[in-house]
Subunit: 217 residues, 2 copies
Amino acid sequence: MGVLPRSVEKVIEELERLPGVGPKSAARMTYFLLRAPRDWSASLAEALVKMRELTVTCTECFNVADHDPCKICSDSGRDRTRLCVVEEPLDVVALELSGVFDGRYFILGGVVSPAEGIGPEQLRFDELKERVKSLLDKHVDKEELEVIIATNPSLEGEATASYIVEVLKGIDEKTAGTLKISRLAMGLPTGADLEYADRLTLKRSLEGRTRVYARGD
Amino acid sequence: MGVLPRSVEKVIEELERLPGVGPKSAARMTYFLLRAPRDWSASLAEALVKMRELTVTCTECFNVADHDPCKICSDSGRDRTRLCVVEEPLDVVALELSGVFDGRYFILGGVVSPAEGIGPEQLRFDELKERVKSLLDKHVDKEELEVIIATNPSLEGEATASYIVEVLKGIDEKTAGTLKISRLAMGLPTGADLEYADRLTLKRSLEGRTRVYARGD
């Protein structure tokens, strides 16, 4: 626009590429960095470069990691009979921080979304098949392998979950039936208010209701 | 938190320092960069470093600039009888993009805010006095100098505006009265709805009302 020094405009343009950052917030961040100690820009710059130099993709779960295989995949203390399929690395972070899951992960890399032109071939379905096959080979006739589908409860997440089920069913035909597939429960989140819940959430919380009493239980 | 590679955590921490960026959005940006072409991180890093290397502070208006004095201060085509005092460089950008002001600027560097421990001594009041004095010296007995106070219409912005008036009044006592001080008009913004306007805005739009008809006008 000519009003700003070119080098300042350039930083604004770069920051605008980031998700959730519009022109106004990019400008605010940039001027914040201009007023902050010079070290701050330098240390952000260094962190960005180092991150790309020091991280690798784990070839088992496809998470971003320090080493391949990653800490979780190489941790023999974790439950190897459960594999949780998620969309993105941040889903792993959420589950790990919650401390409710002790198995391993597989990162699909997104969801099938015809609207955005993302078909199954752009996601890691082949790699998922390979991973499940190899786990089944190790497990066959010994223990069960449970694949827990943890894609988001969005339309795309649901469609992707169905697709995962189809793909994995095909594999199980060649095994002794040790593969179980499950999907995260859907329903009302903690602290929700029925009054404000959307129709689909209500429908699912009704469909998935759990029996709490029946004479003779 | 141990769940993420250290180099990834580091980028998240650095991004969290930026205004308006919380832990969640910092994480989203970071994973976005991890998925994006490697060049993107590198080019953002380079832009950050270059910005600090290539920019200087204009010693007349205190804006961030390519050269000192900046393009605006050194533009002899601009009206030198009007000096607009703003809080931040982004205020200059807004005014320049609007194309409604053709004078020069002075960036105070913020507002007086006792709540945040920012007193007048942390802002550029001394520099403002010097700038106005030097402009008056050149103008005395020839033309008027109008200082337009364009701090934000917030409590702090108003207090700062009053303080600027006090400071500049002191200077004018030694001149031939060629100094005029004005404040941006306050009132309803374009497209506003009276129904939703806050009390203070209504009060000011009433106080600052402009006569449109009177018999005999």
